[in-house]
């Protein structure tokens, strides 16, 4: 029996009427305590019936699962995993294993936020920067890329995973900077971490 179905409302209404009839018919034969209990039962059933009708109309809780607070989604707060290159200096040349597949003019340069080393429990947003020279963006890990004609969004698809292994960076809060044709590619052509967050939690 569903929470917003007619059968449940009909059942609640029928129980209300039944309780009211029993209360009235047995009124003279009962003591004040049982009468009070009967009145309270009728009132409670009345409120439940009205509540079920309103809930069917407004769908606040469309199912028993929803009423229990079960959303089918588990919120996970994982502590940040240390990056393999966490001990590097504030800026360095990045040479990950998958570098050759990106077809860049030279290995990327990474610039870390001032407080990167002081906050080991924090993951940082990322700016993939195609500007020459890269723009200064405080509080974000900057990955400065020099693309060639063969550098495509598809070729860069492995970059987020490589960066997440080497540094403490967020999964979703990525930005792409630059005026060339590559940064202007539509979002759906970009690697997953550059696409909008589609799953909860972030």
């Amino acid at each position: 029996m569903t929470l917003v179905g007619v059968p449940l409302i009909a059942l609640a209404a029928a129980l209300t009427v039944l309780a009211a009839v029993i209360t009235v018919r047995g009124w003279g034969r009962r003591g004040w305590l049982r009468r009070t209990a009967s009145v309270l039962l009728v009132e409670a059933l009345l409120v439940v019936t009205a509540g079920l009708i309103v809930n069917r109309w407004e769908r606040f809780y469309p199912s028993w699962d929803a009423l229990r607070g079960d959303t089918g989604t588990i919120a996970v707060a994982e502590p940040p995993t240390p990056g393999l290159l966490d001990e590097e200096g504030r800026d360095f040349v990045w040479r990950p294993p998958g570098l050759s597949a990106w077809h860049l003019a030279e290995p990327p340069t990474i610039v870390l936020p001032d407080d990167y080393h002081d906050r080991p429990d924090v993951t940082f947003p990322v700016v993939v920067d195609f500007n020459e020279p890269p723009k200064a963006t405080p509080d974000a890990v900057i990955v400065a890329l020099k693309p060639t004609a063969r550098t495509t969004a598809e070729a860069l698809r492995t970059l987020p995973a490589e960066l997440r292994r080497d540094l403490r960076v967020t999964t979703t809060d990525w930005a792409v900077e630059g005026n060339g044709p590559l940064p202007r590619r539509p979002v759906d052509a970009l690697p997953p971490a550059l696409a909008p967050p589609l799953r909860l939690p972030s």
Partner: protein, 314 residues
Amino acid sequence: MSTVLSLAAVLLTAVLLATVWNRSRPVARTGLAVLSLISVAAAAGVQVNRLTEIFPSVVKDDPGGSQLRMVTVPGALTLPMYVYLPAAYNTGSDRYPVITAFHGFPGTPEFWLRDLDVQSVLDREIAAGRMAPTVVLFPSQTPDPLRDTECTDMRDGPQAETYLTVDVPAYAKAHFRVRPDAAGWGLTGYSAGAFCAINLLLRHPDKYAAAASLSGYAAPGIDIDDGSQNTTNNPLWRLRNLPQPPVALWLGWAGDDLESAHESQELAASARTPLEVTTAVVKRGGHNSTVWRLMEAPAFDWLSARLARPLTVA
């Protein structure tokens, strides 16, 4: 307290009914029955109010690093507003991005503070670096708790849109260190407040850069008296009939919240470049605070990523 009092009234009237009914005249019996019904309705009303915070009572103030202030914003309407100031606001001199968060109907900004525990959520997201320090405004949207404005300018009624998009920003800019430009201003809301966020973003892309909708709708739930609920105050109509603005929209819903799911999907399907749409779906959960508690942190994170960062003042 009101819960205890209202339940005591229900109990008292029930005992009275049970003890004096047989000795009473018809008039007294009628009075008793009416009193009983009133007490039951009052007890139910107290619980509904507790859930929706229609009539605000106690102000929650968490004296952590962040601050929650209550101010009164004058203008087309004169209404109270809560202001969240991030911990960094106390010590820094930056001008911060702003998110205006709308409540549902019926409801008040207190729902954000109490049921959605927004101060703790914002503190946590900012401290974790998932969100930039941001000033968050929680304005009231109607002068009458029982009148739904849907954040619009009603003909011969409250000028809620003007109040929320002109007076509230002007007050914030005059009284707090906030970014003055549209790139630093965003909107969010749940239920009817989510409609407000979507509608005001599309109507005022010169004032806001992004909006996040938690179980929102593609149309207002009211008649605005000028027919605009079917046209210019109808986001779906706007997306289908007007040029789309270069702003960003996050649409979240629960899969079993059928109306919101259907309308949010219609909005997402109607979006075209340069409007950017992101969708987020909770498998199930309905149309209530459980779902919104799950959505609020990702929505704030997403908004923050699309708003300009705090502006360093030299």
